[in-house]
């Protein structure tokens, strides 16, 4: 049985590639959109900021599975069929953006008003002040929250199984459907792989956080 | 047999020996005040007595029982030793009344109604009849400390240990707390660590001056204030009376 399990490893690693790929792409989408949303809500005027508020509430209020179904099956009903991977990245990324926006906004709000005033007094435009003064500080403060979000996205890529993405869980299923004796060992092995990924991701970010810490600039946002 | 006997108590934190052999005794209803500069182990001594921070060496006897013996049921003994904290340590989720009654209910097994009746009586005694339903966060520092005293009293202790009971209070609130303590003198033994020299002079039966982990000198207030034997005692009392004023 051990041998069969070892034989299945290449197949699982193939799935793992997709799990990691999904995670990275979704996080990139989520981070870029999340920063825009946070800046828009902190500095934007009412129609824009209230629209962002609704976006955040909606994407944080409905299950990822429902988001996946809306994007994957819903769009194809409209004739805009996406392949499962694109749908999964979109779903994970759009949802992550809503959560990340909260992290960044908390960080932006925690930066003293004097920073913005000082930037304007140098003659910087509002956009430049945000870009060069506020964001570099806010993003550093966001690392712990972002690290938490990374592990959530990583774990939730498994839900993409339900729309047919051939990630780690589905490759595992292929293995044990062919060899039912392997079902429990394969599932435990998959759990172990996720566990190692989650632990090393959060350890790695912890290290980054320490490395980029500036003195007098301790991280105080909630995880 | 003495009511409380502390015999050669030693206590160290790492390499630092905080108590270097403390011995004294107390009788029923006696009030003793421990004075001395900060960091000389006065609070440590109190925590050594009720075994919250057991001594490394030495014995403590209460009412004929050796409480430093690991065999004794320390939770039983602690019921006989009240404790009043510098930082009050009232239970934040309970009203003043429940702060006083909870020990009676949960430790002494009294029924709830009886316990609350008793708590009411103790709170009235310390002048807080009106505040019984308030939570700690709604009380002033002086009121909190009086609840703390009532909580200790309700357990019918043989002795109450006071760990700088007025140090965390605003000056104008100290008087109320000291008045309550004065009124208690004689009815229950009190061992008080404090910098309030007026209280020490007027209420204490004996003053114990500690420094460097030992008892330098002890005696009745009159003797200590007027004819201290050791030069260190004289120097300390001189300094503290300029700091806190003579009564």
């Amino acid at each position: 049985m051990l041998e069969a399990l070892v034989d299945s490893l290449p197949q699982l690693l193939e799935g793992l590639k997709f799990t990691i790929g999904l995670t990275i792409l979704s996080l990139i989408l989520g981070s870029l959109l999340g920063i825009l949303l946070a800046v828009g809500r902190s500095y934007g005027k009412p129609p824009l900021s209230s629209f962002i508020l609704i976006y955040e509430k909606v994407f944080r209020g409905i299950p990822l599975l429902v988001i996946f179904f809306l994007i994957f099956f819903g769009l194809s009903q409209l004739g805009l069929g996406l392949d499962p991977i694109t749908a999964a990245v979109l779903g994970l990324g759009l949802r992550s953006a809503a959560y990340q926006a909260q992290i960044y906004r908390g960080a932006i709000n925690s930066i003293p008003k004097g920073q913005m005033t000082a930037a304007s007094s140098l003659g910087m435009s509002k956009l430049k002040s945000i870009r060069y003064i506020i964001l570099p500080q806010a993003l550093r403060l966001s690392i712990p929250g972002w690290s938490n979000e990374l592990t959530i996205v990583l774990k939730d890529t498994s839900i993409a199984f339900s729309i047919g993405v051939i990630e780690l869980m589905r490759q595992g299923r292929y293995v044990y459907v062919r060899n039912p004796d392997l079902i429990l060992p394969v599932l435990l092995l998959i759990a172990l792989i996720y566990f190692i990924l989650v632990i090393s991701a959060s350890k790695g970010l912890n290290y980054l956080e320490k490395k980029y810490k500036m003195s007098g600039f301790e991280v105080g946002v909630e995880r | 047999m003495h009511m409380l006997e502390v015999k050669d108590v030693h206590k160290s934190y790492g390499n630092l020996e905080v108590l270097k052999g403390i011995s004294f005794t107390m009788e029923k209803g006696e009030t003793k005040v421990i004075i001395g500069t900060s960091g000389t182990g006065k609070s440590t001594l109190l925590y050594c007595i009720n075994q919250l921070n057991p001594p490394d060496k030495g014995e403590v006897w209460l009412d004929g029982e050796e409480i430093t013996n690991p065999e004794t049921d320390i939770n039983k003994i602690r019921q006989k030793i009240g404790f009043v904290f510098q930082e009050f340590n009232l239970f934040n989720h309970l009203t003043a009344l429940r702060n006083v009654s909870i020990g009676l209910e949960k430790v002494k097994g009294m029924d709830k109604e009886k316990a609350q009746e008793r708590a009411m009586a103790e709170l009235t005694r310390v002048g807080l009849k009106e505040q019984v339903q308030q939570y700690p966060a709604q009380l002033s520092g002086g009121q909190k400390q009086r609840v703390g005293i009532a909580r200790a009293l309700a357990m019918d202790p043989m002795i109450i240990l006071f760990d700088e009971p007025t140090s965390a209070l605003d000056p104008e609130l100290i008087g109320d707390v000291l008045d309550v303590m004065k009124a208690l003198a004689g009815s229950v033994a009190m061992l008080v660590v404090t910098h309030e020299m007026g209280f020490a002079r007027n209420v204490a039966d004996e003053i114990i001056f500690m420094e460097g982990g030992i008892i330098v000198e002890s005696g009745p207030p009159k003797q200590m204030f007027q004819y201290p034997k050791k030069p260190r005692t004289k120097e300390f009392l001189g300094k503290i009376s300029t700091l806190y004023g003579k009564e």
């Binding site: 209020g61 179904f69 498994s158 869980m169 599932l187 996720y194 | 039983k76 934040n92 709604q138």
Partner: protein, 222 residues
């Protein structure tokens, strides 16, 4: 409109999963948090191990192990009981972490004062520490409720007929995915708003001056 009755059936399963898992999870969470904070080295490491493993692996993997994996060692669970068990075990680990944060935020003087009254450790924890820690944890707990509500949908993948599953069946029959899933999304959103409001009420009712929620930390997905 014809789909309403089956959606309501699904909704009741969703709510059942949410509340039962939350309750069992609370019991597990209290035990784990106490074990982690007050237990000896062995107990505390076991609790930490459990918490880390559960929080370090996807809920879906946990459900698969319970539902598809366990039969191979002779333990056969129905989809619903596998989902209840999995969600409870999972939520227990997260709730343990909120509670631990709350317990550790309680000043040490509270325990000391309880011990000076003659309470033993257990009495002090039960009467003094836990009542405060549980109150402090309410906001985190409210977050956990919303989290669970949403994640019960994953039970669909192990064939529990909860709200999302019922929606999927109807949508597959009628090919009206958008309509059905917008309705389902609205139901989840409404539940989120409603449950948050209810917990806020409970929190206000249980609130005690001076015991803030501010100390609560480690929100799962803030």
């Amino acid at each position: 409109m014809d789909s309403l009755p089956s959606l309501l059936d699904g909704l009741s399963i969703t709510l059942l999963l949410t509340f039962i898992s939350l309750t069992i999870g609370l019991v597990i969470g209290v035990a784990l948090a106490l074990g982690r904070v007050y237990g000896n080295k062995i107990i505390s490491s076991v609790c930490i191990g459990y918490i880390e493993v559960i929080r370090g692996t996807p809920l879906l993997v946990q459900l698969f192990i319970l539902y598809f994996g366990l039969p191979s060692v002779g333990i056969i669970l129905t989809p619903l009981s596998a989902a209840l068990l999995g969600l409870s075990l999972n939520s227990g680990a997260y709730q343990a972490e909120y509670l631990r944060g709350s317990i550790q935020s309680i000043p040490s003087g509270q325990m000391i004062a309880a011990r000076t009254l003659g309470m033993n450790r257990l009495q002090s924890i039960q009467n003094i520490i836990l009542p405060q820690a549980l109150r402090i944890s309410i906001p985190a707990w409210s977050n956990e409720l919303i989290y669970l509500l949403k994640y019960t949908s994953i039970a669909y993948i192990i064939q529990v007929r909860e709200l999302t599953a019922e929606g999927k069946f109807i949508a597959a029959d009628t090919f009206r995915f958008i309509e059905i899933f917008v309705i389902i999304a609205v139901i989840y959103l409404a539940l989120t708003v409603l449950l948050t409001a209810i917990i806020d009420k409970i929190e206000k009712r249980l609130s005690i001056p001076g015991i803030g929620a501010a100390e609560s930390i480690a929100l799962r997905n803030a």
